[in-house]
């Protein structure tokens, strides 16, 4: 089986027929922004783009600003969508409906041969200057990385594992673990993208065993906090942020299985795995090596196309082992979406009428289960002519909603020190000052 939808299998021959149908619908351009929300549609779209010699575009977010930048980066790009109301400003290609009835002649389609050196995708990170930074992914590099991942997750045992994921296929972790991993290892992806705990449970129950759950600390926290029986699962995989050891233990108990965490980045893809209830140490992919230079750590080798800096504080503890000690101060990671304070400050200060402004790391919210709450950002802004709603509306055009400041404080001046620097502590103190609008409980 290549995939499941609501527990119904989709065979390789059907997939190949769909790939051939969709690749014929993509037109002449060389780039495809694939926004299909159905994971099977996304996977067909990705394979169809490959087969048609096109490159998939995976931006970190889809704000109007980022779409405008994508149009400049790849003027021939089209948007492949499976939704009726898609407002992305690119020429749109509607995912063609599956022909009704039994499929005749599905055995005729051959598996397209793809050159491993072919550029399969451009994946984007937000740069610090306001322009997204493209990272090239070759087909061979993506597949090599996933073969290692399949071995490390023990997914190559002759059985077909059903892969259920709560993360979108367009995010690097979801692209790898929920699309490429099953394709590269002979396992089966599930088309659904369950969100609420009750949805995750029914998607798991619908899938045959062995089944694995690809998810994040945010979703795991919601799952264990919901008053629901969690279906027996054969492996739970988490990434995007380290999991607390209490939550990891609870997940293992409630799902009756082990939990593995993956470490990686958009630039490098996955590069390490660990079992957090057994050890804090990460186990690096073979052929990938890390090098510390002062406070910086760089990764290279294996599937990594070029030497890449990692934006985490890393302590090497052996040739293929390391510990994570948090992120580099400027970096922001909220629920797997990454940005930097520098980038966000740049976007804030580019709003007409904003004289000065700065983001800061705020406190975690989440009264329902505070032990794993998501920390948000705040911002202090000097903009005498603007109100907070106008600034938020402008920011919403420019940055992903998870980075919108909460709170956004209009102030007379920023607490810069004598060297012009703006300590994060001073911003937080300003935000805590009694003049802020106090919520009345």
């Amino acid at each position: 089986m290549l995939a499941y939808r609501a527990g119904t299998p989709i065979r390789v021959s059907e997939f190949l027929a769909d790939v051939s149908r969709v690749s014929g619908a993509l037109g002449a351009g060389g780039h495809v922004l694939n926004v299909c929300s159905d994971r099977y549609h996304f996977t067909v779209g990705f394979a169809a783009s490959l087969a048609a010699g096109k490159v998939s575009l995976l931006p970190a977010t889809r704000t109007p600003e980022v779409i405008a930048q994508l149009r400049r980066f790849a003027p021939d790009a089209v948007c492949l969508t499976d939704e009726d109301a898609c407002d992305i400003e690119l020429p749109q290609v509607r995912y063609p409906p599956t022909p009704a009835g039994a499929r005749a002649d599905t055995s005729a389609a051959a598996i397209p041969r793809i050159d491993p050196a072919r550029r399969a995708a451009w994946v984007f990170t937000s740069g610090s200057t306001g322009m997204p930074v493209p990272h090239e992914k070759t087909f061979g590099g993506l597949i090599e990385c996933m073969r290692v991942e399949a071995e490390r997750l023990d997914l190559i045992d002759g059985r077909s594992h059903a892969v259920i994921a709560t993360v979108p296929p367009q995010h690097m972790y979801g692209f790898e673990a929920s699309v490429l991993l099953p394709l590269a290892s002979g396992n089966a992806l599930c088309a659904e993208h369950p969100f609420y705990p009750a949805d995750v449970c029914s998607a798991l129950t619908a899938a045959p065993r062995p089944r694995i759950l690809i998810t994040t600390p945010v979703h795991l926290r919601a799952l264990v906090a919901a008053d629901l029986p969690l279906p027996a699962t054969d492996l739970v995989v988490s990434a995007t942020a380290p999991l607390s050891s209490e939550l990891a233990r609870e997940v293992e108990q409630r799902f009756g299985t082990r939990l593995l965490e993956i470490y990686g980045s958009t630039e490098t893809g996955s590069i390490a795995v660990r079992e957090p209830t057994r050890t804090a140490q990460w186990w690096l992919w073979p052929r990938v090596s890390l090098e510390s230079r002062g406070e910086e750590t760089w990764a290279e080798g294996g599937h990594i196309e070029r030497r890449t800096r990692l934006y985490d504080v890393i302590e090497l503890t052996g040739p293929d082992r390391f510990l994570l000690h948090g992120r580099v101060a400027d970096l922001v990671n909220i629920a797997g979406k990454r940005s930097s304070l520098g980038y966000l400050d740049h976007q804030l200060n580019s709003i007409p009428g904003v004289l000065d402004g700065a983001f800061f790391h705020g406190a975690a919210a989440g009264a329902a289960a505070p032990e794993a709450a998501v920390a948000r950002l705040g911002a202090c802004v000097v903009a005498p002519q603007l109100d907070a709603a106008t600034i938020l509306a402008e920011l919403r055009r420019r940055i992903d909603p998870v980075f919108l400041p909460r709170p956004l404080l209009l102030v007379e001046s920023l607490p810069r020190n004598s060297t012009g620097k703006l300590p994060q502590e001073a911003l937080r103190a300003l935000a805590m000052a009694p003049s802020k609008p106090a919520p009345t409980a």
Partner: protein, 101 residues
């Protein structure tokens, strides 16, 4: 935790919906540390995007609060889902119709 011996609550009338709307506003402000007073959230104001500005992490948090407080498990695959978060009042009506505690 699940309290399956208690009888289903009778759905409230319009006065009850108004009270539940206020109660939900308070729960949401508390759960998400929002910088607004619960009374300032209009019952018809959208919760997502341009309105209150909530995103999917917040929605998951609200789903958690609603399940703990009222025994309602939200689902994305129900027809009603896009309506539920259209406004505070829609959420209150959905909770009122499905609450088990």
């Amino acid at each position: 935790m699940s309290d399956n011996v208690s009888p289903l609550r009778q759905p409230a009338g319009s006065a009850g919906i108004a009270a539940l709307t206020r109660e939900l506003a308070g729960l949401i402000v508390e759960a998400l540390n929002l910088e607004v007073a619960p009374a300032d959230i209009g019952p018809e104001q959208p919760l997502y995007g341009e309105g209150l500005g909530l995103d999917s992490i917040d929605i998951l948090e609200i789903a958690l609060v609603v399940s703990k407080q009222y025994g309602v498990q939200l689902r994305a695959d129900s027809e009603e889902n896009s309506r539920i978060f259209a406004s505070l009042r829609q959420l209150a009506e959905y909770v009122n119709a499905h609450r088990t505690k």
